[in-house]
């Protein structure tokens, strides 16, 4: 049954249509949220059911293999988590909530099509679908101070996004001109044969630029701090989690175009440089932040550098480690943003000092945040540690000694700013800050996220095997 291949996307598209009807009928935010949650849960169930399905769709423009099905499952589960975290949408006007959820579902459809695309134009369309929805979600925040920071964030996001898309299209034109096809399976053998031609490498790097932008790798990172700060907490939760894993998956897919060999050395050197620059830039800038969303934004740049370490090894274990780490990163950032969204009373941004005494005000939130930050810092037994460990081992196996040393130094820098937040949470006095009540779904989600972070860290074997199996299915 071919429809099974496309069932999660279809569910979400149907959800988007229903939300459209709700918006036209003028329904309130509660109904819209329930609809979005229902269809997201449906998509998650269908992705799980269809996990083993494989095949091609739409004139082979979409190719569903285990790799894409696995990432689709993670995306659908992540969407459910984002909807639970943003169940109150404190900073979005009630009148535009149906549209807000509509764009969120459409964006995930775009990401799902992106990871299963096997054709350059489809890939570009899917990327733009997911990006445009995000561009629209950013300025939907209420204008509380009259400063229009959300507009500034949205404009920066759009302009940098269009620039990255332009570079990517230009790179695609190179690859098409050299291989005579836009279908990736037909391009791989042709391009692999002429990898010593500099135009191939330039094309591949330019196509990668689109995903560097999504993942916020160094020269394409400018939007991150301002968009994280200007968008509402719930929107930032979405931007900081789901697109990252899709972008990491696509970087892996694109880099399989350049099989390891004589010509690929330049690519590896370039990616190494970008990874190191991202790590240093992200970590050093995060040291001085007072707004926690900005801090997590800069730390996201550093983590993107780590994911790149796995990609640049150009072998299966490195790719698997990158996928494992990206998944872990999604869970870790969801845990941190769960806390931020709940600490923020009316949807305002959260400063690090606002977290003072969180341990007394909401012990569960304090625990979730501590686990999330410990994991991001890379402290055992959490997923962040195992992810970094696998990434650095696979890089060392390929002989990137200098890169491994620099990455290890970065881990040390990062520990400082993550743990200073934990210090504020556990040792500072709450003063006049009130206790925070939590509803049951949020509590449950917090506990589930903590358990996933620990489980992925303690028992990484099967997760890594699954990731390796997924990467091999790209073959």
């Amino acid at each position: 049954m071919k429809i099974l291949l496309f069932l999660p996307e279809l569910t979400l598209l149907l959800g988007a249509l229903v939300l459209f009807q709700l918006s036209v009928a003028g329904a309130d935010g509660r109904k819209a949220r329930l609809t979005a949650l229902l269809f997201a849960a449906g998509a998650a169930v269908f992705s799980l059911v269809c996990l083993g399905q494989q095949g091609t769709l739409f004139f082979e423009a979409l190719r569903m293999d285990f790799f894409s099905q696995l990432v689709k499952l993670i995306l659908a589960l992540g969407l459910v988590a984002v909807l639970v975290i943003g169940r109150e949408l404190k900073d979005i006007a009630d009148g535009v909530r149906p549209e807000y959820y509509l764009f969120m579902l459409c964006s995930v459809v775009g990401l799902m099509m992106l990871v299963s695309s096997a054709e350059l134009l489809t890939l570009f369309m899917a990327l733009e679908l997911s990006s445009y929805c995000l561009y629209l979600m950013v300025p939907m925040r209420d204008d509380r101070k009259g400063l229009r920071v959300q507009m500034e964030a949205a404009v920066k996001y759009v302009i940098f996004g269009v620039l990255a898309s332009g570079i990517m299209l230009f790179g695609m034109s190179y690859l098409f001109a050299l291989s005579g096809s836009t279908h990736l399976p037909e391009m791989v053998p042709v391009l692999a044969a002429m990898l010593d031609n500099p135009a191939v490498l330039v094309g591949i790097v330019m196509v990668m630029a689109g995903f560097f932008y999504k993942l916020a790798i160094f020269p394409f990172h400018f939007w991150v701090p301002d968009v994280y700060q200007g968008a509402s907490n719930e929107t930032t939760t979405f931007i900081a989690s789901l697109p990252k894993i899709a972008a990491a998956a696509m970087l892996i897919k694109i880099s399989t175009l350049a099989a390891p060999g004589a010509g690929a050395d330049t690519l590896v050197v370039l990616l190494t440089l970008l990874a190191v620059l991202s790590m240093f830039y992200g970590n050093l800038s995060a040291l001085v932040q007072t707004d926690i969303k900005r801090m997590l934004g800069f730390s996201g740049i550093a983590h993107a550098g780590f994911i790149l370490v796995g990609v640049l090894t150009l072998d299966v274990m490195g790719y698997a480690a990158a996928l494992y780490y990206a998944t872990g990163y999604v869970v870790m950032s969801l845990a941190c943003f769960l806390v931020i969204c709940n600490v923020s009373r009316n949807g305002e941004n959260v400063q690090i000092e606002d977290l003072s005494g969180l341990y007394q005000r909401a012990p569960l939130l304090a625990l979730v945040l501590a686990v999330g930050l410990f994991a991001l810092a890379g402290i055992p037994p959490f997923v962040g540690f195992m992810g970094k460990f696998f990434l650095l081992t696979s890089a060392l196996n390929q002989g990137h000694l200098a890169l491994v040393i620099l990455a290890a130094i970065n881990t040390a820098i990062a520990i400082y700013y993550y743990l200073s937040v934990v210090r504020v949470v556990y040792t500072a006095e709450p003063e006049s800050r009130p206790a925070i009540g939590l509803n049951i779904p949020t509590r449950a989600l917090g506990i589930v996220l903590v358990l996933i972070i620990i489980a992925l860290g303690v028992l990484p074997g099967s997760a890594l095997d699954t990731a390796a199996m997924a990467v091999r299915s790209l073959g």
Partner: protein, 130 residues
Amino acid sequence: MEQEYLIDLLYVVAFFLGGVGFALGPIIISLLLAPRTRQPQTDTLYECGMQPIGEAWVRFGIVYYLYALVFLAFAVDVLFLFPVALIYAQEVILGSALLDFIVIFLFIDTLALAVVYAWKKGVFQWERRV
């Protein structure tokens, strides 16, 4: 081969000269034939023969902007229908004629949703917005 190449080149040169002629011709003809007088109209802006009314620095109603956006929803997408229109009558694209029809209908229908949305949100009500 060589001769063919030269003839092709000749065509290009001929068309190029023709183009230049068409561009320069009116200027030369008007230089030769136009009456050399100077009237108040000579110094006014040329607006396709219309009398200019007022200045160009006036404020437009934002309502026009919304109309332009709705227009855009169709203007660009019509381009995507041209390739379909070219081969629709001759061959079956997706396996059966019915399927083709449904897919194209869905495409246009999705575009129509944009207008439904604008309509329901009151874009077509003509009122001043500040």
